[in-house]
Structures are given as structure tokens and as C-alpha cells.
Amino acid sequence: MSTEQVLTERLQLFDKTINGEQTNRVPTLSNDFTWRLLDTELDIKPSQALREFDKFQQITYEFQSRYNYDCYEMSGMRNNFKLSDAVGGTHSINDETGAIQSLDREFMQACELEEYAENPIKVLWEKVAPRAFGDATYSQLVSAIQASYEQYAAEEEITTTLRTKYGVPAASRCSIFAPIETLFNQYRGIIGLSCDMRRNFSQVKQICDKNKDNYVNTYKECFKNGHRGAEPISVWDANTTMLAHSIMNAKQFEAFYWDTYKEMLVAAIEQKCTVFQFTEASILKFADFFQDIPQGTLSILVEKDDIEMIRKLLPNITFIGGMDVNYLGHSSKEECLNEAKRVIDTLYPNFVFSTNKMMSFRGDATRENLMAVQNFVLNYNPNEN
């Protein structure tokens, strides 16, 4: 079979799965980051691969050759350490464990929220940048910008090579952070935004509202030519990362998140497009919000939630995940295979096989177990159960 045929088969398999139809196997999606770097047989340390884009690429192709995934939640690098290094970043990478540590810092102060809502670039440049970059020289910031462009190019190359050499589609073709995610992940941090949502409700809401159009319109532009647009090279049309909900109650979620997010979902529904939602922490307490989304629109990768429980609550959603990394890292091959079979038999159809967390540490899997499970899933017909 040619690589193009493999790509087409994979896309058809995902389409049927997302539409809740029967398939002769379930698709697999790799939810990994640094585990890939710990598994390599190439003489490359994680700290090297995360800073030298060509080495990360080599490891990714080696990984795909070994495990033959249908798609990657993240085929490239999540964080740009080369950029971070250029401006004196605070990351620490442990080559033995794969652990990456970074400080939760407040780059923007609560008293600057209102000004940020009015003129974000001015606040970012005059107040946030000095805290992030300190006494950097122009040379350092130019190097940081160059590192961004190098990363874009390297990620584009990985996506293209996975598609053209291995027949692996990209996960999606457009992705941006929701406005509230920007505050949470970047400028205010976990503690800062937790306080803001209580003490500065109206300012946070103002920022979300002011940035809503940009967020929604970016996706609308992506959706305008329908599912997959002009080129059938990605599984989903849009990709969104949901992290900030982890510190919210239902009222906050409705005001700061759902109010923006639902407009993007409506745009996807209108154009018959599909959305992949990566979800950290639990979304079980927000399940009601997702009840009316039509089948065939939204796929959610869950990590912390009991996937079988949330599947019962939301039969209209394609769920991704299921395989507990505790099995992959700490059980026998037979136990892993039994669990993989149980997961598929319980969750199929309308289910994409993956792990219940982003594989990052040595203990998240053994190679023998992951290879055995991947081989099983790629060859198991759930209709013959």
C-alpha cells in the first residue's frame, strides 16, 4: 500500500470513528511528550533534543517507525527551550527522569488587567516584557525571535515528513488559545488568575469579551471551506487546549470559557467541521455544557476523568484516551493487553485509543508493553468481540 493510501485510510478511519460509525479497528493517537525522548536508541539526551530541532525530528521518526501511531496529539515540541535559553529562561530538564520544571510566575499584575484589556501590546511590551526578559540585550531578543521561526519550520517539517513518509495525518490545521487560557498559562499564572476570577471578575470578563472575536474569527477562517478545507491532511479541523478550566467552578467556566468556546463550536457545526479538544484535569463537572453538541463535531481527549463515566454522560462526543499508563509502565504485557481489550470493548465505537495522560516520564510505559499494546490495537477488530 502506498503512503498516500495509508494516509487516506487513516483519515477515513478517523472520520467514521468521529461520526460514531462501526470500523474494523479503532484508531490510535499518541499522547506523549518527553517519553519519546527517553525511549530513543539514538545517542541523544532529552535536554539536547529539546534544544536541537533536528535531533527531535530524528527521534520522532524513530518513534513512529517503532510504534506506528495513526496520529499524534503533538508531533512537535510543546515548549521552545532554545527561545527560553536565549532570554535566560527558568526551565530545568532532568535527562534521567524526563522531568521538566518551570516556575509559575506572574508576568502581569492584577492592577494591569484593565489596561491590558484596552491595549494588550502596550502592556505586554512596557510592563510584561521587562519582567520576562529583564536586562536582555537586543541580540538576545532577536535570537529568541529566530528560535521561534526555527521551531515553526522544524514542526512544519515533522508534520510533512510524518504525512509523506509514514502516512500519518496532522491532528489539526488550526489552533489558538482561548483568551482565558492566555491569562492562565502565560501572564497571570495559576495563583494570579485564581484570585482574579474572584477579585477582578469584570476585568477578566472584559479581556475575554474583547478577544472573543479574534479567537472565533480565526477558527471561522479555518472552517470556511468546510471539513478539511482544500487539503485532506489533518484528522480534525481545529485543535484547542483546555487547561484553565482546572481552576474554575461552573459559574466561572460559563462566564470566562464557555461563552467564548461555544461560538467556536457553533461555527464548526455550521460548516460541518471537527474539533479536537485536549483536556487536562477533569471536565466531568462541566459535562452539562457539552450535551447538545451534535455527534461528529467534538472529540475530547480526557486525562483525569473516568472515561467510561463521562462517555455515559456524553454519548454525542468522541472520547480519546482510555489506556492507563500505570498498566503500560508497571504491569506485565499480558495485563496490558487484557486492559487494552477491555478498554476498547467498553468504549468502542466513537472512541480513539490513547493513554490517560501525556506520557512524559520513564515510568509511564515500558517499550515492550507499548509495542505489544499498539500492535494489538492496530490489529484488533472490535466487531468480532
Binding site: E126, A129, D135, S139, V142, N185, Y187
Partner: protein, 46 residues
């Protein structure tokens, strides 16, 4: 590229913004300001 300016500490003012954009001469002129904004938009993520 202005080598003297490159070794200078960044001024977080309008002039400093323009200086940084002008130093991104590996990019087409119309993309340079966006590149600086792009850097600002990644603060906290890298």
C-alpha cells in the same frame, strides 16, 4: 544589522519596540513588527 545596537540593553519603550523590529532583518520588512508581537505572545509559555 546594527551590531552596536544589538549589544545594547533593550529599552521597553516605543523606540525600543521599533529598534527590535528593525533588527529582525532576516524577515521581510512587513513581518518584523508581527514577529515582535509574536514574541510577546509567547511570554510565559516557553
Amino acid at each position: 544589522m546594527n551590531n552596536e545596537l544589538l549589544q545594547t540593553k533593550v529599552e521597553y519603550t516605543d523606540i525600543g519596540f521599533e529598534n527590535l523590529a528593525s533588527l529582525c532583518d532576516f524577515l521581510p520588512a512587513e513581518e518584523r513588527e508581527n514577529a515582535v508581537v509574536g514574541l510577546l505572545n509567547t511570554i510565559g509559555w516557553f
